[in-house]
Symmetry: C2
């Protein structure tokens, strides 16, 4: 069936084998067109595997946009997914109506440096996004890793190292990506960076070129991103995001774009997942225009149904530059992230990193390597996934119980923030200040817009760092505040 071979002697799980077999088949066009998938029962019987496994794989395919379900009729492969490398595709580009791609230059925006580093204030419920639960950081395991590397390593622990990072940490990350994310990236393609911020700066410097002075981002997008790009002389075009992620059909001509920046697993801030058909469209457009895609996969380790979504990277590892980070899974204060690059960009990337800050601190690289290879990271991820799942469910329940105005929540499947869009709300600075006086810190989506003007009713609710009682109290304050907004 579908040319899939299930090998029970393989190290690979049955889940992974079936998932890989099906997605490979879909990408090669095997279940052509709108082919209906066999029922999970038939599939399970055919391979002699548990139906639970098949159902999990089907759920995953659905979540990643490979398939759609038609009620009462079954599961179908989405049309047009065939062959991500296809060049035959209609070239409709003019963004006819609605949100025209807006061109802006981040340098023009006089916003002050982000204040997300202000310490959390005692007694204030602060719904800021991007903060993991640092009370549950595995301090003793981390310290054990530090102690071990200080004991085991010679002078190389303290000396200059290679710009891309020490081999140990790149190998451990490569192994982790394969095991947990299904990403096949050899250590030779990995460059350690001082957080995602530095990774984006490096990518910008790597890809900006004469005649390629523009970067395309989602709109809205983390507000610092256009400013980082502008720092290095790039201009930014924002393209609208909807509930299926970046509206790829609204992309401008990419032939003058250095790259397209996307957060396909969990759009920041809106939370949408880029559908498979749009992924395919995006990759095809990048190929057509001979440009690159930068995939910022900042928090998809925390997904609450099934394993993490497959990254865009897998569709075309030669066009997609992947950014992973330990800021959300471990701690932002570590300043540890990484880039996966096409091999042809590695030399230049190593040179840029060297001339930027030589390399990441070595003790922390080796500590992270030990932390990964000792298994402590896997245990921590599992534990935190459960912690966040509980917090998320609790937050949703609190909102349902407390809010009197009609609202929608978005982006709840992944990560440590959700979007709350309240019907008829127009978030103004006055109201936010009044809420602040009530000891409730709120963050509007609108801070992250490039040029859009339709985001005024939505808040980002970061919940990773909040305890359940704080969530409950915070939602109570919010509900009361919405009564007078």
């Amino acid at each position: 069936m579908y040319g899939i071979v299930i090998d029970r002697t393989s190290d690979e799980t049955l889940y992974r084998q079936l998932y890989r077999g099906l997605t490979d088949g879909i990408k090669r066009g095997r279940p052509a067109g709108t082919a209906k998938l066999p029922s999970s029962r038939d599939m399970a019987a055919h391979f002699g595997i548990s139906r639970t496994v098949v159902l999990s794989v089907y759920d995953q395919l659905l979540a990643e946009g490979y398939t759609v379900t038609r009620s009462g009729s079954g599961t179908y492969v989405v049309p047009g997914l065939v062959a991500s490398a296809s060049r035959a595709r209609p070239r409709a580009r003019t963004d006819s109506a609605g949100h025209a791609p807006g061109k802006t230059n981040g340098a023009d925006r006089a916003a002050p440096v982000s204040t997300c580093f202000a310490p959390l204030e005692e007694g204030v419920i602060d719904f800021r996004s991007g903060l993991p639960d640092l009370r549950r950081f595995p301090r003793s395991a981390w310290q054990k890793s530090i102690t071990t590397v200080l004991k085991l390593h010679g002078r190389e622990l303290l000396s200059y190292g290679p710009p891309e990072g020490v081999a140990e940490v790149r190998e451990a990350i490569s192994e982790y990506l394969l095991r947990q994310r299904g990403i096949d990236a050899s250590p030779e393609r990995i460059v350690m960076t001082a957080g995602t911020t530095q990774a984006i700066g490096l990518v910008t410097r790597l890809l900006l070129a004469r005649g390629r002075g523009t970067a395309v981002t989602e709109d809205p997008v983390t507000r610092d991103i256009p400013r980082i790009i502008a720092q290095h002389g790039g201009s930014v075009i924002g393209v609208t995001v909807d509930e299926d992620g970046l509206c790829t059909e609204r992309l401008p001509d990419l032939r003058r774009a250095a790259f397209v920046y996307v957060t396909p697993s969990h759009q920041f801030p809106m939370g949408s997942v880029l559908t498979m058909s749009r992924r395919v469209d995006l990759v095809a457009r990048a190929i057509d225009a001979d440009t690159f895609i930068v995939e910022d996969d900042y928090d998809s380790e925390f997904r609450y149904h099934g394993p993490p979504l497959s990254p865009l990277f897998g569709l075309n590892p030669d066009r997609v530059l992947y950014i992973g980070t330990f800021s959300k899974t471990l701690a932002p204060g570590l300043r540890m992230a990484f880039l996966i690059l096409p091999p042809r960009l590695m030399d230049r990337a190593r040179e840029l990193k060297w001339l930027t800050d030589l390399h990441n601190p070595v003790i922390e690289q080796l500590t992270l390597a030990h932390f990964l290879s000792s298994g402590a990271y896997y245990r921590h991820l599992r534990a935190m996934r459960n912690v966040y799942r509980e917090k998320r469910a609790f937050l949703l329940a609190c909102l349902a119980g407390a809010l009197k105005r009609p609202y929608r929540v978005l982006g709840t499947q992944t990560g440590i923030h959700i979007i709350l869009a309240v019907d008829g709300l127009s978030i103004g600075a006055d109201w936010l200040e009044r809420m602040r006086a009530e000891r409730l810190a709120l963050y509007p989506v609108d801070r992250h817009r490039v040029t859009r003007r339709d985001l005024g009713n939505a808040l980002i609710l970061g919940y990773g760092h909040l305890e359940l009682d704080e969530i409950e109290h915070g939602v109570g304050l919010l509900a009361a505040g919405l009564e007078v907004a």
Copy 2:
């Protein structure tokens, strides 16, 4: 005498009080013109302090170029040191003969990324520069600092922090600079950086402007420096260095210069100390042209006669941007340095650092803060100064005993490398390769030239990381090699 007040109840040492009093007086022009200093005996008697203290201060003034001795006649203040803020100064600029200021663009140089991170090879004597003695890194004290901060600090240890660095480390550095270096820099002027490399990149981005697209450096200069500047669009003019440091009279018109980069305490690589009269000249020229000076004080903690030289920064803290680093005093793998900036540049510097990598890793910042404030850093510096003093003396003795060809050594007073210039030697790639085959790694000064062509007979001998037996063996190999060069 000289308006100096010695206060025995002060926390400041008598040495420091006398030094400060004399240099303040000299800068204000008190001992006018060529005034002879009182004999050390008279000075000691006048203030009722030990003659040893006075002699140490006199030595320091001499070393820093405030004074000259005339044999049999005494010690005189160097003419023309008065008032660094003076604007009245002849504007002779055309570099009439000899080394014309050479304009080069670092981006044109196709040199590969520095290989100073290659691990030291077993059995090879490697005279590379810039490596401290990492065998003597105080691992247990460092680990104790890590353990302490992991225990004492709450979530702020793991979270986002301010771009300039946490207050604790900036306060500890400020305190250290005042106590040990006589530098008065408040924590509010300090920005933590990921090594000197990042500091230079930040400074370049901070100061380059329309009509200010050039940076002036010493020639020779650490080879990465012009490349870092070029990365950010700057072009580089190298100005010759002699045994008194940068030849300030050869400086080009600085009105189009973003900054002048200097290593006044121990020129890299040549080792010369910038004389006081040139310091004054440099500052005056910077004021005239309304430009800045960037002082890279990379290794002056290790000075083998008297305390470290006073930095240029003290002459004009509003024009001089000071870079200090822990790469040589502790370990380069830590990637920890700092910038001291004029207050008016701080906001922009914080913004640039934020958009570069947010901030340095927080655990390492707090570890360094603890390491400094616990006194461990001071103990380590004292111990290492003695270690390096011994290695240096041993290296000089080995050279004197083994080399048959006439040679000169330069820059031996400070730091962890010296320059060996061998009469009539012309260092070629062939000879270096032959030496490498003999398991001796040598580094020519010529690698660091901007445009000069007269450096072909000089080697940089880094000795900080070598043990005495390695130094002896290495010098033996070198002496044999010179016989056939």
